[in-house]
Amino acid sequence: MTNEALKLKKKSSRKRRENKRRATSALLVLPIYLFTIAFVVGPLIYMIILSFMTRAEVWGVERIFTLDNYKNIFSEVYFGTFKQSLKLAFISTLAVIVLGYPYGYYMARTSPSWQRRLMSMQMIPFWVNSLIRLYGWIIIFRANGLLDKLLMAIGLTKEPLKLLYTYPTVVVGMVYVLLPFMIYSVYGSAEKLDWSLVEASRDLGASPVKAFITVTFPLTLPGLLTGIVLTFIPSMGLFFIADILGGNKVVLVGNLIQEQLMKVHNWPFAAALSVVLMILTSVLIYIYRRVARVEKLMGDGANENKDKDKEKEMGRGV
């Protein structure tokens, strides 16, 4: 065999080994791909296709292409539901920010023992299913329920307020379920905040309020944004809260989809509603990522500073 031929053989054997290795790793990740295709991508495509089909007279779907499902969404009744959902999501998120930001921020700044206490106040209720906890709110809010009895006992009201099945009660439920997500997002950001930055701002002449506005708030904004996404997006779809606490009076997109699917059996329309909701949340996530990418870049700078500090301290054996 000539030298050339030997080289060629060597080369091809190396290539073969390389191919074999690739094939093995492909085989290893295959189950994940199969799972994703079967249970995520597949149903998604099915749902999109379904949304362009026609509802059959009695039961099921007919394979006739139509845009009516989407047109239907923009009819006054259904479009109103979308608007109402967005409004409720907006109000709930606002309330969650107002309550959750200070809580999460304080939790990060306080002493470790208080930190534990504040954390467990959020964690312990989580051990009980949120559906069951929501039924607890019924006991509180229903006519002649705990709240009514309390208010009448101290003489603030004379007759039951009939709070259950009202809009504010749904907001309370939303806030109750979603608050921990905000608290932990803000906590995560505030905990990483290098306190020497706030001291620097005070040192340079900023009052506590100005220091908060110019330093603390911008640096905890990534956590706040994460909290907003984690609150706003679910709050459009959490139909069971509106169901349990809102009766039939508050109808959200989530309720509409459930109703169309389970009661009316208009699958194509339910699919079209889902597609629109999905697009809406995708847009929100896209906006969040655009904003958060910039913020994250800056956040990294802060951490770098902090790490260096730690390194130095350890180096000097303090």
Partner: protein, 365 residues
């Protein structure tokens, strides 16, 4: 021998009166007194954990003292919040705002004060050129090297023209070469700006190189406050002698004392040293300090020498270092130029130093 205040009272810009501070059960500051004159460069020198950063934070208003007063330009600012004091800090970690570019960082103090945009821009450019960072306004802190961040931190702290600039080990994170260069630049900057600097370091070379006065700190008190020459040549305590001059400490009993000199018997010999302003009478315990470079090694016994055994030789930092053990077991170190000496470990030699080069110090626990 407390250093008396010279100059007028108006010249004193900052006074610390009997500052005390405890964290839990640990007393960190145990009565800190210091007068700083206008335009002075004062260094607080001490090992980590001696409380020097605590002093700085109390001056800045970031920490409240348990007792004592901080007087700035004749006004008691002990209770004033940090933003109400005309004092700025260069933090050890620089603490640059990561979400602002260099220009916004440097201009922060003026922006908070509500200055006009054009003026801020002008001032930022001026201060950045002072620290040799012209045109860096738009860079983000994370894009800068350690040395550049340090300059930005200094620029940010001096832009508002504070009465006193506090620097907390600002060169600690830089490598040796850059540190030496920055020492010179900082000194130059201080002269240009005419601002009073209070500088913290644990590096005695840095302190000796840059300061007008050094306050050597240990365990929450100042052991000695004086010019670099005073602290180096006439340390008041054995601790100062060791920490600042890396000096040898020899203990003995006074034989006689007169005319500013004290003669003592120590380690089987009799030597003489300056009395360092302490009154001695025969029989007293005495501790003297002799710096390494002032120790001579001779082979034959003479008057006023101490016998010693060579223990070890090493070549460190361009100097030959000879470790010796005196007859009483105390180890001393001598340094000399050159790479080697004729002595080998185990040799019995004699140690000599001129009385001028030795000084009696107080032994403090």
């Amino acid at each position: 021998m407390r250093r008396t205040r010279d100059g007028n009272l108006e010249d004193i810009i900052l006074s610390l009166r009997n500052l005390k501070k405890s964290f839990g059960d640990t007393q960190v500051l145990r009565g800190i007194n210091l007068d700083v004159k206008k335009g002075e460069f004062v260094t607080l020198l001490g090992p980590s954990g001696c409380g020097k950063t605590t002093v700085l934070r109390i001056i800045a208003g970031l920490l409240d003292a348990d007792e004592g007063q901080v007087i700035l330009e004749g006004k008691d600012v002990t209770e004033a919040p940090p933003e109400k004091r005309n004092v700025n800090t260069v933090f050890q970690s620089y603490a640059l705002f990561p979400h602002m570019n260099v220009g916004a960082n440097v201009g922060y103090a003026l922006r908070i004060r509500g200055e006009k945009k054009a003026k801020i821009k002008e001032e930022v450019a001026r201060v950045l050129s002072l620290v040799q960072l012209e045109g860096y306004e738009r860079r983000m802190p994370h894009e800068l090297s350690g040395g550049q961040r340090q300059r930005v931190a200094i620029a940010r702290a001096v832009i508002a023209e504070p009465k006193v600039l506090l620097l907390d080990e600002p060169l600690g994170a830089l490598d040796l070469q850059l540190r030496r260069q920055m020492q010179i630049e900082l000194k130059k900057l201080q002269r240009t700006l005419g601002i009073t600097f209070i500088y913290i370091t644990h590096d005695q070379e840095e302190a000796l190189n840059m300061s007008n006065r050094i306050a050597v700190m240990r365990g929450g008190v100042f052991e000695q406050i004086g010019t670099p020459a005073e602290v180096y040549d006439t340390p008041r305590t054995s601790y100062v002698a060791r920490f600042v001059g890396e000096a040898n400490i020899i203990c003995g009993k006074v034989v006689s004392a007169s005319d500013g000199f004290v003669t003592l018997s120590a380690a089987g010999g009799v030597v003489t040293a300056r009395d360092g302003g302490i009154d001695f009478s025969a029989g007293d315990d005495v501790t003297i300090s002799v710096r390494r470079e002032n120790i001579q090694i001779i082979d034959e016994p003479q008057d006023a020498v101490l016998r010693a055994t060579v223990k070890e030789k090493s070549f460190v930092g361009g100097l030959l270092r000879i470790n010796l053990e005196l007859d009483d077991g105390v180890e001393i170190i001598a340094t000399r130029c050159g790479i080697d000496s004729p002595h080998v470990p185990g040799d019995v030699v004699y140690v000599k130093f001129s009385p001028e080069h030795a000084v009696a110090v107080r032994e403090q626990p």
